[in-house]
C-alpha cells in the first residue's frame, strides 16, 4: 500500500546559488567593496569600457576585475595592462558565471584591500540574468550596433539591471539605431532603470559613467 503526499515548498530553484551569493554580498559589505556585475551580448563593449575605466583610475585606486569567458584568457590579458589585479574565469562551456565560480576566483584576494570589484560576465543576455553573484548592481550594456528592440526581446536582464549603458555612441551617424526607441523600450520593461550613453572610442559620456561607478565609495 502507498499513499500520495503533497509537500508544499517555498524554495527558489537557485536557492543554493542565492545562498552563496548572499554570503558574498555579506563579505563585500563587511569589507566595503562595491561589486558591479556587467552583462551584455558578446561584442557590446564590456571589455573596452573596462579598459577605459581602469585607464582613468589613479594607480592608488583599490579596484580589481574578474572577467568571465567560455574560453581563453584574452580579456584578462587586455585588462591586466592597467596594473590592477585581474583574474580570468574560464567557464569551459558554461554560458554564465555563478556565485560559486566567483567565490573560487576570489580566493587569495584580500577583500579588505579592495573598494571596487568589477565582474565582467560571459557575453550573453539571457543566462547570466538568473544568477546572483552578490553584486551591488547589475549593469546591462547595449551597443548602438545592435537593435533597439533588445530590451523587449530580452526583458529579464533589463528588468534586473540598475543601469543600462548604451555603448559605441560614436557609431550613431553610421547605424540605423533609434536611440529614443531603445530608451523607451528599456523603460517599458523597467521604468526606474538609469540610462547613460558612452563611447569607449571617443571617451564621450565616460565622465558620467565614472561618477556612477564611484558612487558610495
Amino acid at each position: 500500500m502507498s499513499m500520495t503526499t503533497k509537500v508544499p515548498l517555498e524554495r527558489k530553484v537557485l536557492s543554493e546559488n542565492d545562498r552563496l551569493a548572499a554570503e558574498l554580498r555579506a563579505e563585500f559589505a563587511r569589507h566595503g567593496v562595491r561589486c558591479l556585475n556587467l552583462i551584455s551580448s558578446p561584442g557590446s563593449g564590456k571589455t573596452a569600457l573596462l579598459e577605459r575605466t581602469l585607464g582613468a583610475f589613479d594607480p592608488s585606486m583599490r579596484v580589481a576585475v574578474l572577467t568571465g569567458d567560455i574560453q581563453t584568457d584574452a580579456d584578462a590579458r587586455r585588462l591586466a595592462r592597467y596594473g590592477f589585479p585581474v583574474r580570468q574565469i574560464t567557464t569551459a562551456g558554461a554560458c554564465h558565471l555563478d556565485a560559486r565560480m566567483v567565490a573560487r576566483a576570489l580566493e587569495g584576494w584580500d577583500l579588505a584591500r579592495l573598494d571596487l570589484l568589477f565582474i565582467e560576465n560571459v557575453g550573453n543576455l539571457v543566462c547570466p540574468t538568473s544568477y546572483d553573484l552578490g553584486e551591488a548592481a547589475k549593469v546591462v550594456l547595449l551597443s548602438v550596433a545592435e537593435g533597439e528592440e533588445k530590451p523587449l526581446k530580452y526583458p529579464g536582464i533589463f528588468f534586473k539591471s540598475k543601469l543600462m549603458v548604451l555603448t559605441k555612441i560614436d557609431l550613431l551617424p553610421y547605424v540605423p539605431f533609434r536611440l529614443d526607441d531603445a530608451i523607451a523600450n528599456a523603460r517599458t520593461i523597467q521604468p526606474d532603470i538609469e540610462i547613460m550613453q558612452v563611447s569607449s572610442t571617443t571617451g564621450e559620456g565616460l565622465d558620467k559613467w565614472m561618477e556612477w561607478v564611484g558612487r558610495g565609495l
Binding site: 502507498s2 503526499t5 509537500v7
Partner: protein, 84 residues
C-alpha cells in the same frame, strides 16, 4: 542554454526535499517560471527529460506554471509514500 543547470538545480532540490521521506517515489514537482526569469520553458522541459532519463527520477513529472516577473520557485512536491 543554462536550462540544463536550472534542471539540475531542480533535481538537487527534489533530492534534498526527499531525504525526510525514505522509500518515497517522487511523482511531480511544481515550478513557477516568471516571464522575466530568463528561463525558456520548452528548453527546461527538454533538459529535465534528458537528465532524468534512466534514473530513479524518470517518472517525476515537471509541472511548469506561469508566474509574475522573474519568479523561479519550487512550489510543491508530490510523493508516493509507502504506508506504515
Amino acid at each position: 542554454m543554462h536550462e540544463l543547470g536550472i534542471a539540475n538545480s531542480i533535481l538537487e532540490a527534489v533530492e534534498a526535499e526527499m531525504r525526510p521521506h525514505p522509500g518515497a517515489r517522487a511523482l511531480r514537482i511544481a515550478v513557477t517560471v516568471g516571464a522575466l526569469s530568463g528561463v525558456d520553458r520548452d528548453s527546461l522541459e527538454f533538459c529535465f527529460g534528458a537528465l532524468t532519463k534512466g534514473t530513479p527520477f524518470e517518472t517525476l513529472a515537471l509541472d511548469l506554471k506561469e508566474a509574475a516577473a522573474d519568479e523561479l520557485q519550487l512550489t510543491c512536491l508530490e510523493l508516493e509514500e509507502p504506508t506504515p
